[in-house]
Amino acid sequence: MIEIASGKQSLHIANPVIGAAGIFGFAGEYGSLIDLAKLGAIVTNPVTYQPRRSAAGTRVVPLDSGVLIHTGLPNPGVHKLYREQAMRWKNSPTLIIVHIIGATPEEIANCAEVLEGREGVAAIELGLNDEIVPREVRATISGVKAKTQLPVLVRLPLYFAAHLATAAEDGGADALVIASPPRGTARDPISGQLIGGRIYGPWLKPLALRAVGQVARRTQLPVIGAGGIHNPADARDFIEAGAVAVQIDSIAWVRPEMVEIIARNLGGSEVTRVAGALPDEWRPGQGETAALRAQLLASPRTLLPPDNLPK
């Protein structure tokens, strides 16, 4: 098991690969394409205290090897969402982390309060807006921590991650997610208008990887890397840069099976010998898996029980 949040309420996941917010829906939408049990956790789509409708106009703009998305973050509000999803979260094959957002610290704290003590909710991930300053980071996180005993992961904006990490730690964050997809602007080829939204693509990886390295050196909190991961090697780069786990995003739209491949690879359940080998031919510590586990062991942010040590 890997410890990805280290506060009063720690959070352990069986696999260092997590489904990122905004990609995997509110629970098991990807269950027909991916064995969700292979993932360490799924972060839900963003949830607000009050219901939100989808954005008007263009919501998807294709980019070279990427995409810009502006959904407006539609959701039914935290109360209704929990009523709708309670059974699915409770019976989920993997841990559910609820991603909450809000216009004010109070709204975010109220959202967290609704989720407190709810069965099936393993942790909260806090989404911060891109223009937030350190003082607001501290206030928002401490406000949430005052309302919940759940582990609180904080997803920081990419370009200011290193700048805000210390404030997040001071505010009481249990882990940091580095980073949220950055915002961009692109021309919609259909309407001809300029559209703003979050951008996804493999070219984000170098930016996110640098931010992960910077943050990992500045804080004692577990760091979860996210951004541009499209194959197992990408994910391993984040581990090497100091992350204890990774979040997978838009590759799920491009090649859904790759999500499971990455999870199996980093989770040590991928057969790393020549194609054609059967799962029962794998043993712990075989092939690349052993190297990864040794790497994880070397990291002070990682906890592995003795029975998982490479042989």
Partner: protein
Amino acid sequence: VYERTAIIERVRRVSPTLQRLDIALDTLHKGIRPGQLFLARTTESLDPYLREPWTPIQADGRNITVERSNLNTYMPGQLVSLVGPVGKPIALREASRTLLLIAHESTPASLLYLAMTALSKNIAVAMVLLGAAQSYPIDVLPQEIEIIRGEGTTWGHQDKTLEWADQIVAVAPPPFDHDFYLALLMTIRKVRIEVVTGYAIGLFQPPMPCGLGACGACYIKQKGGELLACLEGPAFDLSAIEMAGK
């Protein structure tokens, strides 16, 4: 919804601008019905990034046919990753005897599977081609389909055609969809006393990154709420859609 690898078995150039791909799916394929689509990927490259919507023009057991522009290159034996079937099938109205299909500024390909299904049930089919749809090579269409051409949002004998139709299914791509569907609905309301549920249907084709209802990018505004095109569409009853000026 599932993800499967399929094989392009045959590539037929049916006109100077169009080619048809006969594709074999695997044994686990459960079938796709008119109105549903696949999200397809033909390359390992990440450009283009998102999957392309492929709506079959014909489906028979484990074989489907899709129509693509000749600008793209496909080869027999080429593998295709398909996610689907995405969306809900279009239901032909009970006891319907006439079906009017309308393509506005769009290829009518996404209506062809429905047209073939209707013809197989002895339902008379007429197709209106408006705007850019007029450039579609009609000699690739079944002879049984009556073709009507028109400009803008109107065509000759429009009222009579609308009175004739037991059901109307229209396709218009973004950004024309809302304006055209609104104009069509207004015209229908002038002609018919009542527009019952399921009478006038429009295909909405917003980009669908996931096809599973997970990403929330393809919501269509309805009276009293929003529905995901990838789950509840892409065909929606026009009288239930929230459109400005309705």
